[in-house]
Each structure stands twice: as structure tokens, then as C-alpha cells.
């Protein structure tokens, strides 16, 4: 029984070709550690930054701050703002705990107020509702996901950001589920802060991620972490220059080398969005035909599909798919606890299948056969 991996929304597999080799080569090489040793070598972190800037269409690569993952980046953004008690954050019920938990912590420690807007039955933010909430709550910060990690519904980040900016809010975009599979252009869209991860649709290694910080935000955002930077060591505070201001401590060079390798490969092998969409729709059509209760999502969407099977507990379905059929998927609330009320999926959540550009039609069909077999087998 071959393994079929349909859990790419959690972390992608396989990674881009040569990513593993690049990481392995990095860890075996003499670490030049740019700027901190007397001899010179390739500045791998800066190359990765340039590649990301090109992908994000950000003019200045220095506006991209590295960190181990999107959660770290979101924390750097949310904790780095100077909060006053009573200030308001507008966010959505579709958010991941990587947004919700830092916000909850800030509500307890800084006295901020959190307002969550509902989403439609596909898990998508409704622009009219977003606009009303911006008008009503006048938030200091607006945080929203680009794509739901539960349903794959893509939000119109540009429109939502423009609305929030017009209302005077700082905008923070969670691009964890979108970067690498659909365009993400924070600078063009006027977004202030955008968090991303390297190990999902960028096809890079875990331990790589970052935060885009708009130039106007560089000074307003305070560093959460302080420590060695390899430069301006005489200062007792973090250097003011970007991106060093937000990058204390030794970086994860091997992960960044791996991510750079994946980015180079992806630049040469552009993701075919229509192929991925067709495959996702093939999966949805098949699920519908065999009687699965899927969360219906219209395009634009990421290759994420959530469903349930009548008469079956979602955890059992995941267990059977994985152990009986060798299909790796994810079940439950997917770390996004609030969205399920709006999808009719409480209290047990959903079974989630998430494809990648490496998923084949044969794998989709095998998955459909497996789910059909489950539905047709009452035991």
C-alpha cells in the first residue's frame, strides 16, 4: 500500500526537488555566517530574501524579516505594536490559533478588545460585513487570513485591505495558506504586515517563514526579541535597520538555504493554478457523487477540501483513511476553532484533504474510492 499524502495544508510533502539536498549540503558546509566571521562566502539568507521579495513583488528585500514560521511572524507583528488598553482589533472567525491565541493573550495582558466578523458558509469573509464592522468598531488593527485553512476559500485581500486602510487600521495579513499557490502582493495591495511560512505551499523546509513589514511600519513596530545581531554590538538595544531590527540571534541558515532552493525551483516551475483548481474540483465532484457532505467553496480557492460522512465520526474517517488506505489527511478543528459554527461542523469539525502541485489524478481517484468504500461499508 503506497502512501498518498493529502495533508499539504499542514505541511507540504514532497518538498520541491533538491530541497533536502540543499539543506543537507548546508549543514555539512563550513558556516560562513555572513557578517560574523572574517572569511566570506555566499550570503544564503540574503539570497532567500531576494527570492521572496521577487515572489511577493516587494521592492526592498530588507522589508522581509525571517523567522521560524508564520506563528512566530504573527507574534512579532501583534506583540510588536505598542498597545493601549481599550484599543480594538478586528479579525474574523476563520482565523487560525496562530492569530487567535496571541490576540487573546493581548486582551488579557494589554486590555485590547477583539471583534470577530462572521464568514459565509464557505468560510469566506463577506466584504460588506467587513466594511460594517470597520465602521462600527474603528479598529487600530485589522487581521485576516488570505485563505481559510479549513475550507480553502480565498479572500479578496486587496479589497479587504483597502477597506481597512480607509478606516484607518493597520493591516496584518496571514498568508500561511496562500503564498506559493496563489499570488500574494502585500506591497501592491497596501498591506502593512504579512506573515507567511516556508514549509507549506512554498515547498520549503519547516523552520522557515517570515514577516513582510511595510516601510512605513518599520519604525512603529517594536522588536519583540532582542539579542545578538552580528552588527552594532556596542548598542544596548536592537539596531534600527531592517531587517536586523527584528532578527535577533543566529538564523536558521539551513532552513533558509532549503527555502531558497525551493523558491528557485518554483520560479522555474510556475504553479499551474488552473490545473490545481481542476484537480480540487475533480475531488469535490467525486465527493459529492458518493454522498459526502462537503463544505462547498467557489473559486478562488486553495486546494483544500473539508467534508464529513453521514453516520461516521470524522476522527474515525481520518483513522481509516490513514491506517486502512494509507491516505494522510487531517481531522478535527484544524486549529481554527471558531469557523466550524459557520460551516455547520460543530462539535467534531471536518475531515480535510489538501492537495499540492504534486498530487496526481490517480491519487485523487484512489482517495475517492477509499471514501466511497467507507460510506458503503456499514460494518
Amino acid at each position: 500500500m503506497e502512501l498518498v499524502y493529502l495533508n499539504n495544508a499542514a505541511t507540504s510533502w514532497p518538498k520541491a526537488p533538491q530541497t533536502g539536498a540543499a539543506v543537507a549540503a548546508c549543514i555539512d558546509k563550513v558556516p560562513y555566517h555572513a557578517g560574523r566571521s572574517a572569511f566570506s562566502g555566499p550570503n544564503t539568507a540574503e539570497e532567500c530574501r531576494r527570492l521572496l521579495a521577487a515572489l511577493l513583488q516587494v521592492k526592498e528585500p530588507k522589508q522581509i524579516v525571517f523567522g521560524p514560521n508564520a506563528t512566530h511572524a504573527l507574534n512579532v507583528a501583534l506583540h510588536g505594536l505598542h498597545w493601549k488598553p481599550g484599543e480594538t482589533v478586528l479579525t474574523t472567525v476563520a482565523e487560525h490559533n496562530s492569530v487567535l491565541r496571541p490576540l487573546h493573550y493581548l486582551s488579557k495582558t494589554k486590555g485590547i478588545k477583539i471583534h470577530m466578523v462572521p464568514v459565509d458558509g464557505a468560510g469566506r469573509i463577506i466584504p460588506e460585513v467587513w466594511a460594517e464592522a470597520l465602521e462600527k468598531f474603528k479598529p487600530r488593527v485589522a487581521v485576516f487570513t488570505h485563505a481559510s485553512n479549513v475550507t480553502g476559500a480565498v479572500n479578496d485581500a486587496k479589497i479587504l485591505a483597502v477597506m481597512a486602510k480607509t478606516a484607518g487600521a493597520i493591516t496584518l495579513l496571514d498568508a500561511s495558506q496562500s503564498l506559493g499557490v496563489i499570488p500574494v502582493y502585500p506591497e501592491e495591495w497596501g498591506i502593512d504586515l504579512a506573515a507567511f511560512t516556508g514549509h507549506k505551499y512554498l515547498l520549503g523546509p519547516t523552520g522557515s517563514g517570515g514577516l513582510y513589514v511595510a516601510s512605513a511600519m518599520s519604525a512603529e513596530l517594536e522588536p519583540v526579541w532582542a539579542g545578538g545581531t552580528g552588527i552594532q554590538s556596542e548598542l544596548n538595544k536592537m539596531p534600527s535597520m531592517m531587517p536586523t531590527r527584528f532578527e535577533a540571534g543566529t538564523s536558521n541558515d539551513c532552513a533558509l538555504v532549503g527555502l531558497a532552493s525551493a523558491l528557485r525551483w518554483a520560479a522555474e516551475h510556475k504553479v499551474k493554478e488552473n490545473v490545481l483548481l481542476n484537480m480540487t474540483q475533480r475531488l469535490c465532484k467525486g465527493l459529492r457523487e458518493i454522498g459526502a457532505e462537503i463544505i462547498e467553496v467557489t473559486a478562488p480557492r486553495t486546494p483544500v477540501v473539508s467534508f464529513r460522512l453521514k453516520g461516521w465520526d470524522v476522527e474515525d474517517v481520518g483513522e481509516i483513511l490513514q491506517k486502512s488506505f494509507g491516505i494522510v489527511c487531517r481531522t478535527g478543528l484544524h486549529c481554527a476553532p471558531h469557523i466550524h459554527s459557520f460551516l455547520g461542523a460543530v462539535p467534531r469539525g471536518t475531515v480535510r484533504l489538501s492537495l499540492s502541485r504534486f498530487t496526481t489524478n490517480a491519487e485523487v481517484d484512489y482517495c475517492l474510492q477509499a471514501i466511497g468504500a467507507i460510506l458503503n461499508d456499514a460494518g
Binding site: E315, D316, K323, S324, G332, L333, R348, D377, G379
Partner: protein, 109 residues
């Protein structure tokens, strides 16, 4: 006494009391059927690796696949600790019985 490694299963569900038990034997159909005296056993034998689920009278559910070495037990929200103790005692007895049956079989060979 039962000598089985037990680990809490951390998952993405609300309020679950699920534990995985790592047995030192492959799970046979006979072993699973032994639970039928204490609850309802359902087999799904058409799957590439047959799946089973047992629902004990106190609400504890047990599941796994045949020929694997791991079973998962989920305890009801009301008093999961007592249910855990009850199941582990039962599992211990069934494992002992299974072991004795194998020893008897070996004796006759």
C-alpha cells in the same frame, strides 16, 4: 499486570480523552472478538487493512486495524479516569488470556 506502553493522543478535537496502547503483538480478529463480551464489536473487513471499532457498555470506544500493534481508546467525558482504569484492567485480562491461548497452542504443536 499490563505491560503495554500507553500515550495520550493529542489531537485537534474538543475535549477528547484518547489514549494509544502499543501492544507487543499484532492485533488478531480473535483478540478483537474477545471484546464482544463487554460491548459491541464492528469490523470493516473490506478495507485493505481491516478496521475495527468496539463500543463498550460504559461508552468507551476502542479502534484500530488488524495486524497493527496499536489500539486507540477514547473514554467518555464523564469520569474518563475511571473508564480508563476499567479498560486497562480489561485489556490486561484479554492480553493475558491471549498469551495463555498462544502458549497452549504452542504446547500442542
Amino acid at each position: 499486570m499490563m505491560r503495554v506502553e500507553c500515550k495520550k493522543v493529542e489531537n485537534c478535537f474538543v475535549s477528547t480523552h484518547m489514549y494509544a496502547y502499543y501492544l507487543d503483538m499484532k492485533i488478531s480478529e480473535e483478540f478483537v472478538q474477545a471484546f464482544s463480551a463487554f460491548g459491541v464489536v464492528v469490523f470493516h473487513k473490506k478495507f485493505p487493512r481491516p478496521f475495527f471499532k468496539v463500543t463498550l457498555t460504559n461508552g468507551t470506544t476502542i479502534k484500530g486495524v488488524l495486524n497493527d500493534t496499536v489500539i486507540k481508546a477514547q473514554y467518555p467525558d464523564n469520569d474518563p479516569q475511571t473508564s480508563k482504569q476499567v479498560f486497562e484492567k480489561l485489556l490486561d485480562e484479554l492480553l493475558q488470556r491471549n498469551k495463555q491461548m498462544k502458549e497452549v497452542t504452542v504446547d500442542y504443536e
